[in-house]
Subunit: 254 residues, 2 copies
DNA sequence: CGCTAGCTTGATCTCACTCAATAGCAGTGG
DNA sequence: CCACTGCTATTGAGTGAGATCAAGCTAGCG
């Protein structure tokens, strides 16, 4: 089996330290299968019972809830290293759907293997629990974002979050960040229409904060963008150095 | 020590079954201290490191995030039986504040005791993890509520959620539900101004769905209210009978 | 009895939505 | 090679839900 299945990105640059080599090996051993999914694919449908959880190795995925009027509302976005539906291990049934934005590679971990981990590896279990709590913290920030911020601020905040998470896994250098989603997807994530997302992106461009083009975000002024989005990366529980990079500071303030 | 410290309400009427008597005893034994808090008290401040978690025994509490403009945004509400900040056990530092709405009684559980539970009681640990995932599921629904629903629907949805959770712990009969919060608090929970909450409550009254008065919600038409709020209790992971009661059905549909 | 917190109602304003039209661009097939 | 199709991006004009501002009202309480 390959030694590089995405396990190495788990918890990278987070508070509380990295996993030990043994723990990574244990996780790796828990993987039953590697699967590739096409873009726009629904992996788990709302209400489904599942007996395994999915670790995202490559690509971008999201969680969404379908509204009565047929609209889709994104409640979370996932980047490589995220254990997307680890919460299905305690929950067993999902209250939302999970799908791909891009083509994706995932590692499938059966819950039976997680049970064995839970019995035998207390620290690893504690860190996996932490992982699921990271998602909850992001959910809370999304609630806050929707409650408190206007359209421009919301998009800025969203871009800062994605960029911070991409920095943590080494996929962004803080100036150029992958953003493999359409303006419609962006709207579904920030609760805006695609039309308004377009206007907001123009504003960000005009203010020399950020240029979104193709599937890439060019961040011209990260401190400015973070300020616009009132972005404080505390909720991502990054280690101090990474948190500083996430708001465009190379050195911490005195 | 008293045998009734709120432990008996934990996970009551949820999917996955009740805790065993032994598990309840173990949890009870983990309680270091019972504390009473006045209304309007901030128990944990955003960013604080904590070494213990808090089980709500009596009263109503909430989690909130302070915005730059000084406004407060509620990201979660808690009723007795909720292990409010159990997520602090893996996270150690909270990304939001926790406070009381009413006077409250809480049981304090040190993380060292939770560590012992995690090593020795796999099933109980799994259920505690489940408990934290319930909060995450509620967060997701709040994101959805803010994204998808208008003011009337949002308030209706919120009332249905509180009512369902009160039903689960035996504090509501489905027609009369405690709602110990002002219209301002309600607004901070649904992202509306107190003025608009007031107008919305009038509409609910005029439609004979619900009358909110004092610190009590009189629900006149629970199926109607649930329909208005597009409320589907699936995300609360209640057992089937309780879920049916939460939307005003005494019998399940064929 | 006066004070304060919470509730109620009215008038006006604004941000983001809706509807609509156009342009660009990739893929597909004749 | 071009016509055709479908998806994404862009811009304009009009609309509306909920915010804001302002003023009374009510009730509990020292």
């Amino acid at each position: 089996m390959s030694s590089s299945i995405g396990v190495e990105k788990i918890l990278r640059n987070r508070e509380g330290g990295e996993l030990s080599q043994e723990e990574r090996d244990v996780l790796q051993g828990a993987v039953r299968e590697i699967r590739t999914l096409p873009a726009g694919h629904v992996a788990v449908r709302q209400g489904e019972r599942v007996e395994h959880s999915t670790l995202l190795v490559d690509g971008v995925m999201m969680r969404f809830i379908d509204a009565r009027d047929g609209r889709r509302h994104v409640v979370g976005v996932h980047v490589p290293g995220d254990f997307i539906d680890l919460h299905a291990y305690p929950l067993k049934r999902l209250d939302h759907s999970v799908g791909t934005l891009t083509a994706a590679t995932v590692a499938v971990v059966p819950h039976s293997a997680l049970e064995r981990i839970q019995v035998n590896y207390a620290h690893l279990t504690h860190r996996l629990w932490f992982l699921t709590m990271l998602d909850a913290a992001m959910h809370r920030q999304w609630v806050y974002r929707l409650s408190s911020l206007n359209a421009l601020e919301r998009v800025a905040h969203f871009l800062c979050e994605i960029n911070a998470r991409m920095i943590a896994i080494g996929a962004s250098d803080g100036r150029s960040c992958p953003l493999p989603m359409t303006q419609l997807d962006l709207g579904e994530s920030c609760s805006l229409t695609n039309v308004h997302v377009n206007r907001v992106l123009r504003q960000l461009r005009e203010r020399n904060l950020c240029v979104v083009r193709g599937h890439q975000a060019e961040i011209l002024d990260l401190p400015g963008l973070a300020d616009t989005g009132q972005f404080d990366p505390g909720y991502l529980y990054l280690n101090p150095e990474t948190a500083a990079r996430a708001v465009g500071q190379t050195r911490s303030q005195p």
